[in-house]
Amino acid sequence: MSIPTYSKQRRHVLSSLSSIPVAIAASDVLAGTPYLPPGTVASARLETLPGKRPMIKRSYRPPNYETPLAALGTEITPADQFFVRWHLSVIPEIHPKDYQLNLSSDHNDRSLKFSLADLQRQFEPVEITAVCQCSGARRGLSDPHVAGVEWGYGAVSNARWKGVRLRDVLRHFGIDASTIEVAFWGEDRGPLDVTPRFVKSLPTYKAMDDQTILAFEMNGKPIPHWNGAPVRLIVPGWTATYWMKQISHIQCLQSPSKSFWMTSAYRLTKDKFPGDDRFITQANDKTVAVTEMVVNSLITNIADGQSVHVNQPLMIQGVAWDGGSGIDSVEVSVDDGKTWQPAAVAKAESRYSFHCYSATVTPQTLGLHALRVRALSNGGQKQPEALVFNPAGYHNNVWHRVEVTVV
């Protein structure tokens, strides 16, 4: 895989010990992801949605905004920097008092309605810390490039979610043994009635997992509008496409969902990635539904193009995560992956959470150096050196590369 050239527009000299977070200017935030398509770089802006801090705008409408890399260095991503991703541009503002969740079945007449207060009163509250990552995170770094929202590194965030178990709600509703999938509707719509609603489904075993929750709080406060208020689905370990925002309708299905968003979008070629067996009712001869996140990691405290001092300790920090087995170990490299040294990995709030790591290296030669990071999951998954190419640009977990100049 060739690495495209990237014009260095800026040079920073870090203070002697770079463990102190470096303030990065707007132009640097936007330029901090090399290898994006030129049109993506040209149309990116640092923009502020109501209630958010400045984030990297990929598209205004539907709103797609990614978290700046420097904001991903802590285990919990601040709510006002949590990435924003919508498929459809009409996003109603739903007052918690007006919120209603409807349950139904495609094979019996059962139906049930809940208000937000009903959910909070009738079911046991639970909390889980879990990473939310777009299936197409880093699509913009695919080589060759592929069409879509050209995300850099920031279509991922981590938060503490509070809500109730979906399982408890489904049992109260009376889910039966012939339910093979559970489908979910969000309240977002296209401006045209003909545009299909955003509908996703989960296999029943995943919907009934005690970690799958209907959340109404994120980091101790109501979920921000842009992240799916008043209630969104949390599916720890699985990519964000299943984490339905503004969830308004749940339906028990006895046959597989035929939603465009299940059968045409979010598909992976078979036998390319782990997890092909996770959603068998949505698999066909050639493709499977994208499900579990693959192991991944980021360097968050050093921006591409920075300068660092020779023969002085350089702290490399960041986060690692996977589809829920937890992180076994993280390694860093200062010679573009030729040699590696272990990083210290902090204990995480859950196996679904960001795992913070740090390592101190001492660059001993002048000139350009490529820092790399890679993680190993408890499940034995490793990050690949070369991209596992797929036409939709999913599951990009190539070793993160940050170029620095040693001066």
Binding site: P38, V90, G190
Partner: protein, 99 residues
């Protein structure tokens, strides 16, 4: 580019009352003023801002824009007739299909 105009989105989308539309600073997007460019604007911005196109400039190469326009028509129901689709594909291929 002979002229450039600021695309005015608001008039088209404000009919959708009661919804929180993300207009943000979409109106800052600068777009060419030609018949073909206006056709692209009028058909595409019903559902999405024009930066979706800019973001994919050169990613979707040449005539491959036809598949993208077809997806918008068939999967999302974009109201674009065959003749308009031809003009839109020709414009996008030329302006945004480069290497």
């Amino acid at each position: 580019m002979k002229h450039s105009i600021v695309v005015m989105i608001a008039t088209i989308t404000l009919g959708l009352l009661g919804s929180w539309l993300c207009l943000a600073d979409e109106t800052k997007i600068v777009w060419e003023n030609s018949d073909a460019a206006r056709l692209v604007q009028s058909r595409c911005i019903t559902c999405h801002s024009l930066d979706y196109i800019q973001m994919n400039a050169g990613v979707i190469k040449g005539a491959n824009w036809e598949a993208e326009v077809n997806k918008m028509r068939k999967a999302y129901g974009a109201p674009i007739n065959d003749e308009e689709a031809k003009q839109i594909v020709a414009y996008l291929s030329q302006k945004f299909g480069g290497e």
